[in-house]
Symmetry: C2
Subunit: 256 residues, 2 copies
């Protein structure tokens, strides 16, 4: 059992939770909690190792048994040390270090999401969660968007990270990867999404909380679309605006 | 200038930011930051007092001048004390204590939102922000929902609190206040919102993150509606599901 805060595995987890550079250089990230790690296990995600404490629920113990049966390295940690690692202060007794190995791109795509300049980790995670629920096939992250593998993004994503191909790409690479797709930019001054035909294959760029979309996003987009706001607000939360637009695409396609 | 952390005004702000009971008993709440307080001022909200520090932007100084010209009590605080009060650690140099005086109910309503068992302050604030953007006319909060005047709710609401009638009501009072409205419950097992006619006057109950809607909500609702999820997710974030449904109501009414 690990009883020292100076243990190399604990030091690695702390470093991974703190710094984007650490995650990029090592190609791994941290996920915690039973439900999230059940998702990782059920989608056969690659684990580096698992840390657990004695204070786990029955559901947690079952998950741990599954992980062990897959040959994944597990190690017990004194529970106060595990809780101190946790981003929420409540690890539910289990934290894992997972490989950052993006899922393969589907051969053909008709719906790609591009979160642009999204800085708030909760908003990015919520966009990923919404994307997987709606059946978006891939997410491209331009350089200005916050790191998708930061702990708060992973938590808000609720397992989306294990099902959705997520790629960090330059704008030039995004231009190439979206050839053949119509590019729409979510913009409050754009045309109403209800009056825009969104049925053909497309990529949707959702701009950030403060400044909206970046210059490269504006240059790349063919058209701007908006969620009409008949009420008294200046703007919607970025994850909310993205969700309304994402499900409008699904609605139009369903109605044919 | 206030230079002691034991100053009664600072003690009041700290108490109001911490405990729902304190806010209920005193009938006031805290809002911070320039943009939010600009919203409060422009909607003629009642201020109890304003605390500010010397470290304010030009926009902040302009706001302060407006507040003073309205005869609102303002007092300077040492900037480290003001930042220590702030929920975000960055007050933008201005914090206010405001009256909790609900706006009058509109004479007739055709769209009411009922956030039910929403525990996460960010989600409740986002729902309020979405509601005001969509033109929802009132929000009824049943007893199980988190306090709408908690600092994180006010922040995520982005000014919705100053434009939207928000009422804490028992389920019995909600039943009476929604006579004449159709009651729909957001539920992932409900009928597709795209196949439900949402054009007649209605109240929408959006259930909580974990357990969904409460028993009284289920009893009161006439029908359940859902956001169809063609992808791989168990559920949507409560604020996201609520937003998609709220804007679907607006879309249907616009299309007639």
């Amino acid at each position: 059992m690990i009883t020292s805060a100076q243990n190399p595995k604990l030091k690695l987890v702390r470093a991974l939770m703190g710094r984007p550079k650490e995650r990029r250089d090592s190609g791994v990230f941290v996920a915690e909690g039973i439900r999230l790690l059940e998702e990782a296990a059920s989608s056969s995600w690659k684990f580096r190792f698992v840390l657990f404490s004695g204070e786990m629920s029955q559901r947690g113990s079952k998950l741990l048994a599954v992980l062990k049966s897959k040959g994944i390295e597990t190690e017990e940690v004194a529970s106060h040390l595990l809780d101190a690692l946790s981003d929420t202060g409540n690890s539910q007794g289990i934290i894992a270090v997972l490989e950052q190995a993006p899922l393969p791109m589907p051969k053909s795509t008709d719906f790609v999401l591009i979160p642009d300049q999204i800085r708030d980790p909760g908003n990015l995670g919520t966009l990923l969660r919404t994307a997987i629920a709606a059946g978006v096939q891939a997410v491209f992250l331009p350089p200005e968007t916050t790191d998708a593998f930061a702990p708060k993004v992973v938590r808000a994503g609720m397992g989306a990270h294990f099902r959705l191909p997520i790629y960090d790409l330059s704008w030039e690479a995004i231009r190439e990867a979206t050839l053949g797709l119509h590019l729409f930019l979510a913009d409050m001054h754009g045309k109403s999404c209800w009056e825009t035909d969104l049925r053909s294959p497309l990529a949707l760029i959702v701009g950030g909380e403060a400044e909206g979309a970046s210059l490269p996003a504006r240059e790349l987009a063919e058209a701007s679309i908006s969620v009409p706001m008949p009420g008294h607000a200046e703007s919607l939360n970025a994850a909310v605006a993205g969700a309304v637009l994402i499900f409008e695409v699904i609605r139009q396609r369903k109605e044919g």
